[in-house]
């Protein structure tokens, strides 16, 4: 072979099935990360236990880990903990799907088409600073206190974030990719599907990941539109009865599930835009 300049050994090809070996190859890193998480949680738990054991705050204001655990058991036994979670997740998922789908769609349009950009961008830019919670009264008037208003509040939040990221990603596609595509004779359709969208994909995926987190965050705001179930409703209910222990149990549940979802979404995102090295 005439070319012998590359002394670098050939790296192993990355195939679709290689996800498990990759996980095992770096097995020490996740173990380490897990250790750090447990350590951090352990310290927080210990401080929490110590503060509540000191008796500075009454248990009704600042419940001990033990009473929060009992409250969680009680919610579980009343068949509220998991059904509430299921109902809330269903709302978040539906709102997310609507908002993210619309956000990507509109972002693809405004990102590459001048007409749509001129039409939508000023309006959407005005909407962006309006928080989801400020939309709750409007949502109730428009959609009543049923599921519709909850989907609306969540979808609104997710939509704006996903649109914004998609739009920006589409705007900053490196010129060299467009030039390469055109000088290789690609049609505009193929340029869009095989060059522009993949080039913007890291931004789109980042927007979607943010959208997942926001769907979760706006969930509680959405359930302020008069719900009779769900984690947000259960929090409100706990407030009426001053059940701080229940509130803590629900908040911890929200935190754990949210972190877990973000972990999964992050892993999926890395697989999708594998070339980014994020």
């Amino acid at each position: 072979m005439a070319v012998s300049g590359d002394a670098r050994p050939a790296p192993r090809p990355r195939t679709r099935g290689a996800v498990y070996p990759a996980l095992f190859r770096h097995a020490r890193a996740p173990a380490l990360a897990l250790g750090r998480v447990l350590l951090s949680l352990g310290i927080v738990g210990a401080v929490w236990a110590a503060v509540s054991a000191s008796g500075v705050f009454p248990d009704i204001i600042f419940p001990s880990p033990g009473s929060v655990w009992d409250a969680a058991r009680e919610l579980y036994d009343d068949r509220l903990l998991l059904p509430d979670l299921g109902i809330s997740m269903g709302r978040a998922a539906t709102g997310f799907a609507l908002g993210a789908g619309l956000g990507v769609g509109v972002g693809l349009l405004t990102g590459r088409t001048r007409v749509f950009r001129a039409l939508f961008n000023p309006f959407l830019t005005l909407l962006r600073p309006i928080p989801a919670i400020a939309l709750v009264p409007v949502a109730i008037v428009w959609f009543g206190i049923g599921e519709g208003s909850k989907y609306f509040v969540i979808a609104y939040t997710v939509f704006l974030t996903v649109w914004f990221n998609t739009h920006n990603g589409m705007q900053y596609v490196p010129e060299v990719y467009i030039r390469a595509s055109r000088s290789l004779g690609a049609s505009r359709t193929r340029e869009f599907c095989a060059v522009v969208v993949p080039a913007a994909a890291p931004h789109i995926v980042a927007g979607i990941r943010l959208g997942v987190a926001l769907a979760f965050l706006s969930l509680v705001a959405a359930e302020l539109t008069g719900a009779s179930s769900g984690l947000g409703y259960r929090l409100q209910e706990a407030r009426q009865y001053i059940r701080t222990d229940r509130m803590f149990a629900i908040l911890i549940e929200l935190g754990l599930v949210g972190a877990l979802i973000d972990l999964v979404v992050g892993a999926v995102a890395r697989r999708i835009v594998h070339w980014e090295g994020v």
């Binding site: 072979m1 005439a2 070319v3 012998s4 300049g5 590359d6 670098r8 050939a10 790296p11 090809p13 990355r14 195939t15 490196p174 060299v176 990719y177 030039r179 390469a180 595509s181 055109r182 000088s183 290789l184 004779g185 690609a186 049609s187 193929r190 095989a194 060059v195 993949p198 080039a199 994909a201 835009v273 594998h274 070339w275 980014e276 090295g277």
Partner: protein
Amino acid sequence: MTAARGHVAIEGVEIRFGAGRRTTVALASTDMVLRPGTFTALVGPSGCGKSTLLNAVGGFTAPTAGRIVIDGVEVAGPDPEVGVVFQAYGLFPWFTALGNVKFALKRLDLGRAELDKRALHCLAEVGLGGHAHHFPAQLSGGMRQRVAIARTLAGEPKVLLMDEPFGALDAQTRFSMHELLLRVWGVHGATVLFVTHDVDEALLLADTVHVMSAGPGRVIRSYTVDVPRPRSAARFDAALVDIRAEILDLLRPPPIPADAA
């Protein structure tokens, strides 16, 4: 390859950027003819308009004045008949080496099996048949440029534009890239326009070397190199040694004067 394929005529091309008082003349009126199947190198200091001229031939930038005619047709935009190898980052990182080459072949309307076969053949031509399923991020800089060459030549362009394609590579890799480029050029026989900072690289590869100067960018001297290939930078022919000395003299920046006391 018929003799009529790949005749490039650059006729009074002038390129300015900006408008009003902020206009920069990137390229002063330039005439140049690239005969079919020849290898032309452009050397010159940074900012003298080498890339600007190349981009105009590639159809990426419209000349402010004058025109570029390829085989009797005026350049009006990018065209698959005019292939481009970019300095770096030209490969699509979301496609494998094979996927990148297949992208170039798609317009030919081949069957699926034929498409794969042709793309693999193109990669094998640059010695990367075994790396077809690697992504660019998994390849070295030299390998990436080999894929880029394979991708560009896959479409059988009659003109090949290269803007410092080996500028980011180390001297060793660069040397083997020169061999490879001359080999595949021997097979495909496109008309090449090659931009480089490196005078030796120009003298090793080209039939004609145009030397450009900045402010405003223009061609100040042209040399014909008729030493047969392969040429060696280590044992340059006497004729080449003279040309090299002259070009280096032309490119030498004016001395920086000491401040007056």
